[in-house]
Symmetry: C2
Subunit: 217 residues, 2 copies
């Protein structure tokens, strides 16, 4: 029950300092998945900043409607990723509990295996959602880089970098859970889903970053 109470507090309501101190400690959550969601949210926010610095400027009147639409998507994405910080922590609790189940009798072993498998499934679902959200963040960073104020282009680059790192970090969190699954076909399918997102969106994020470093160079 003590663990459960901990998560009545919504993690993103903690101060940045307190969140980071919690991350550094040995509590079961927040962990790498929740940190990935937070870093992805920082990426979504930085894209949005490019948009905020673009709207209302005469020079960008022609793209104003596009930028406003991107800003709406960015705000929704940031809130979705903030929610996933919490979801990742909550998915970890049943997994931590499952590991502690006794396995002395054959019945206990079968029960533990079934509970663990279900908890692993749930613990994979959240990082996969974080990955999908970070892919959207990379797409938004690319559009902001193409249409946003040139004064804020480096921030579009930072947005792409953060969403890419968060995508890869969430991918590691899918893999640590699939590795332990008894259902190898399901594990392979989830790994393939993660690998497909990485294969499409890591190079896309790299292109956004490289275009900017060339412009700056």
């Amino acid at each position: 029950m003590r663990q459960r109470r901990k998560f009545i507090v919504e993690l993103t309501n903690l101060s940045c300092k307190t969140f980071l101190a919690e991350l550094a400690g040995n509590a079961p959550a927040p962990g790498g998945g929740g940190a990935a969601a937070l870093v992805g949210a920082a990426g979504a926010a930085l894209g949005n900043m490019v948009g905020s610095l673009t709207v209302g400027k005469k020079k960008y009147a022609a793209v104003e409607a596009d930028i406003l639409a991107l800003n709406e998507r960015s705000t929704a994405l940031r809130k979705r990723l903030e929610g996933l910080v919490q979801a990742d922590a909550e998915a970890f609790l049943p997994l931590a509990a499952a590991y502690k189940l006794p396995k002395e009798t054959p019945e206990q072993q079968a029960h533990k295996a079934a509970v663990l498998e279900e908890a692993l499934n749930r613990a994979c679902a959240v990082p996969l959602e974080i990955m999908a959200a970070c892919c959207e963040g990379i797409t938004l960073a690319e559009e902001y880089g193409a249409k946003g104020s040139v004064l804020a282009l480096s921030d579009a680059g930072c947005a792409a970098l953060f969403c890419k790192a968060a995508l890869q970090a969430a991918g590691l969190n899918v893999m640590v859970n699939t590795r332990l699954m008894a259902d190898k076909a399901r594990a392979a399918a989830l790994n393939a889903e993660a690998a497909a997102l990485l294969a499409d969106f890591v190079p896309k994020a790299d292109r956004v970053y490289e275009q900017l470093t060339q412009q700056e160079g």
Copy 2:
């Protein structure tokens, strides 16, 4: 004076949600540099988490002293990066003020150029400090990956990913400022300093990540 008052609040004392909302808006700070420091701090914290999950375990008694030393370095690094979130915001204010100086008379133009050059110098110094701190974070992630509990290795990978993205993002923030400097020799020297850190530590972070994905695969 209104801008100044804003930063009496230490940014990392804001809730994660509020910090991210500020980042998304059109306020001059926090921006890409401050976000880089925060993401780097998340990387430092995740390394520390690997250490926190390793100390006190019989299996890792042989490396206990090493891990405790790494944990101390990680805690100091996290606090240093938290301070750099604030320092980046404070370095941006004189730059924003310099851009607004009048440039109608030759005297005004000369004054503005001198003030701007000084502000650009200061605005470069902070992201360079963020870069150096993120390089330390990558070194720590590598050591945690080599010595820490195998149960937390994916978190060492996440730590390397976040510190790398923050290193590159801070690098973009060096370049946007050097590009505007009148003293081209100084700009080139600062760019070379940033490029050298990227050349050494991006591949190092990639190796930490790749070793982990191979272990998981």
